[in-house]
C-alpha cells in the first residue's frame, strides 16, 4: 500500500530544529537556526542566493556536519520518535543514456531485492500505485534521464512519499518547468500536506507562489531573520531589506 491518506493531519506532532549551525572551515554558513514545524503545515524557506537555504536542507538531512539537534516529538506526551524524512532533490546525478528506468530507480531506494536480476511484480504494483498519486503511473518504464523537468519532479515526489515520511523536504524546481508545471507542483504539495500526516519544508524562489500557498514563511540569511505567517514576514523590515527590489509584487 502507498501512503495512508487521512482526512486531516492530527497537528499533534512537531519537528524542532534547535540551535543548528553549520560552518565550513573559518566561514559560518548557518548560525543558530531554531525552527518549530507542525505536521500538516507548508513551511517555505526564502532568502537570497547564498543565504544558506540548500545548506539548511543538507544539514537537516544529516548530509553535512552541523551542530545543534533535530527532534521529532509527539506534542501530547513529549515522546521522541524517529523522524522519517522524504527528500526531493532538484536534480539527479544521471548522465544522458543512463540505463535506468523509473521502476529501477524507485526499486533501488525502496527494496533490497536485486534490481539487476528481475522485476518484482508486487514491488512494481506498489511503485505504480505511488506514481498514480501524482498522475505519473505511465512513466514507470521510461528512462529517468529522458523525463522532462515536471515529470521527474512528480516521480521524485512519489518516491519521497513512498515510505510515509513525517517530513517532506524539497527544493522548488527551478529549471525545465513552465508556469503550468509550477502551478501543478504547488497544488500537489498543498494537497499532500492537507491530506497526509506530514510537514513540508520547501525552499522557494518564487515569492508569489509562497504568498499563495505557504502556511509559514522562514526568511533566511545565515540565520533566521524572520519567521511567521506570510503577512507577518512579507510586511517586516527584514523582508524589505532583503528583497528591496522585488517587494512590489506583494
Amino acid at each position: 500500500m502507498t501512503m495512508r491518506r487521512i482526512i486531516k493531519p492530527c497537528g499533534l506532532h512537531c519537528i524542532r530544529v534547535n540551535h543548528l549551525s553549520v560552518r565550513a572551515g573559518e566561514q559560518q554558513i548557518l548560525s543558530d537556526i531554531n525552527l518549530h514545524i507542525h505536521c500538516g503545515s507548508l513551511n517555505a524557506v526564502i532568502g537570497k542566493n547564498g543565504a544558506g537555504k540548500s545548506t539548511l536542507i543538507r544539514a537537516i538531512l544529516n548530509d553535512i556536519p552541523h551542530s545543534g539537534s533535530i527532534e521529532f516529538k509527539d506534542r501530547e506526551n513529549g515522546f521522541l520518535q524517529r523522524l522519517k524524512i522524504g527528500y526531493v532533490p532538484q536534480s539527479l546525478n544521471l548522465e544522458e543514456h543512463s540505463p535506468i528506468s523509473v521502476y529501477d530507480m524507485m526499486a533501488c531506494f525502496q527494496s533490497r531485492f536485486p534490481v539487476f536480476l528481475k522485476k518484482s511484480r508486487s514491488l512494481r504494483k506498489r511503485i505504480e500505485d505511488s506514481l498514480e498519486l501524482f498522475e505519473a503511473g505511465e512513466l514507470i518504464d521510461r528512462q529517468v534521464c529522458r523525463l522532462s523537468g515536471g515529470q521527474l519532479q512528480r516521480v521524485l515526489l512519489s518516491m519521497a512519499v513512498m515510505d510515509e515520511p513525517n517530513l517532506l523536504l524539497l527544493d522548488e524546481p527551478v529549471s525545465g518547468i513552465d508556469q503550468n508545471g509550477m502551478e501543478l507542483f504547488y497544488r500537489t504539495i498543498y494537497d499532500l500536506k492537507e491530506h497526509y500526516d506530514l510537514a513540508v519544508i520547501l525552499i522557494s524562489h518564487d515569492l508569489d507562489y509562497v504568498a499563495r500557498y505557504a502556511d509559514k514563511v522562514i526568511l533566511l540569511d545565515q540565520t533566521v531573520l524572520k519567521q511567521g505567517t506570510v503577512k507577518e514576514v512579507y510586511r517586516s523590515e527584514e523582508f524589505q531589506s532583503v528583497f528591496a527590489k522585488s517587494a512590489a509584487i506583494v
Binding site: I100, F113, P114, L117
Partner: protein, 271 residues
C-alpha cells in the same frame, strides 16, 4: 566441430579458457558499476599502482610480491576513495597526481640495475601462463563479487543516483563506497598479471559502455555488458591463438569494435 575446438587440446589453453570464463563476467559486472559511478579514472589509477605494490614488496624483501601488490592496492583504493568523496572538483587532478607518482616510483625501483624486463609482462599480461591454483583464486573472487552484487547492488546504485537522497534513506553510503573501492582493487590486482596494466581498464569499461548504448533499464544493462564481455573474451582468446598475437589486446580490439557498432546502432535507434 572437432577442428573448431582443436585449440583446447593444450592444457595451457584449457586453463586460459577457464580464466577467460571467470575474468570476463567479473569485469562485465564490475564495469557496469564503475561506468555508472564514473570511476574509470579510479580503476585506471589502481591498475597503475600494481607496479608500486610489487616494488614495495621487492624493497622489503617479501617473497611473494603478490601480497604487497594487493595490500598496496587496497590502501591506495581507500586513499583515492577518501579523496574523491570529499567532493572537490579537483579530485581527478589529485588522483592523477597520485597515480603518476605511484607508477613512477614503481618503475624507478623495479628498473634499478636494468632489471625491468623481468616485470615487463605485467604491462601486457599473459593469460596463457595462469595456473590451476590461480584459477581457483579468480573463482572465489567471482563468487564474492556475485554475493556482493546480490546484497548491495541496490544501495550502490541508489547512491550513484543521488548521494544525499540515499543518505536520507538510511543507506550506509560511506561504507558502501569504501567496500566497493576495495572490491575494485581486489578485482584489478587478482587479474592484472593475466590482463596487463596497459589494457585492464579498457576491459573493465568497454563492455559496460557498449551496453549503455543499447540499454534502457538495469536488467538490459547487465545482460548486454556480460554478453559483450564474455563474447569478446572467448573470441579474443581463439583469434589470438590462431593469429599468434597477445590475447589481452585482441580482446580489447573486439570489445572496442562492439562499442562502436552499438554506438552507431544506438544513434540510429534515436532517428
Amino acid at each position: 566441430m572437432g577442428a573448431m575446438f582443436s585449440w583446447l587440446q593444450f592444457d595451457f589453453m584449457k586453463l586460459a579458457f577457464g580464466a577467460i570464463l571467470l575474468i570476463t563476467p567479473l569485469f562485465g559486472l564490475m564495469g557496469t558499476m564503475i561506468v555508472s559511478r564514473r570511476m574509470a579514472f579510479f580503476s585506471d589509477a589502481l591498475g597503475h599502482s600494481a607496479l608500486t605494490g610489487i616494488a614495495v614488496g621487492v624493497v622489503f624483501g617479501i617473497g611473494d610480491t603478490n601480497w604487497s601488490m594487493i595490500l598496496f592496492a587496497v590502501v591506495f583504493a581507500l586513499l583515492l576513495n577518501k579523496i574523491s568523496s570529499t567532493g572537490q572538483a579537483a579530485a581527478d587532478t589529485v588522483i592523477s597526481v597520485f597515480s603518476s607518482l605511484s607508477i613512477a616510483l614503481g618503475l624507478a625501483i623495479l628498473s634499478r640495475g636494468g632489471n625491468f624486463s623481468k616485470y615487463s609482462s605485467l604491462l601486457v599480461g599473459d593469460i596463457l601462463s595462469i595456473s590451476k591454483k590461480e584459477l581457483l583464486y579468480l573463482g572465489v573472487l567471482l563468487a564474492v563479487v556475485i554475493v556482493f552484487w546480490f546484497l548491495f547492488f541496490n544501495w550502490l546504485q541508489a547512491l550513484s543516483i543521488h548521494r544525499a537522497l540515499a543518505r536520507s534513506r538510511q543507506i550506509p553510503i560511506v561504507w558502501m563506497e569504501y567496500l566497493f573501492a576495495v572490491l575494485v582493487a581486489l578485482v584489478v590486482m587478482l587479474s592484472i598479471r593475466w590482463v596487463g596494466i596497459l589494457i585492464i581498464n579498457a576491459l573493465l569499461i568497454l563492455p559496460a559502455a557498449a551496453s549503455r548504448n543499447l540499454s534502457v533499464n538495469l536488467r538490459e544493462y547487465h545482460f548486454f555488458a556480460l554478453l559483450f564481455s564474455v563474447f569478446s573474451g572467448v573470441l579474443g582468446l581463439i583469434l589470438s591463438y590462431y593469429a599468434n598475437v597477445a590475447t589481452g589486446p585482441t580482446i580489447v580490439i573486439l570489445a572496442a569494435v562492439i562499442y562502436f557498432a552499438t554506438y552507431v546502432y544506438g544513434k540510429k535507434g534515436l532517428l
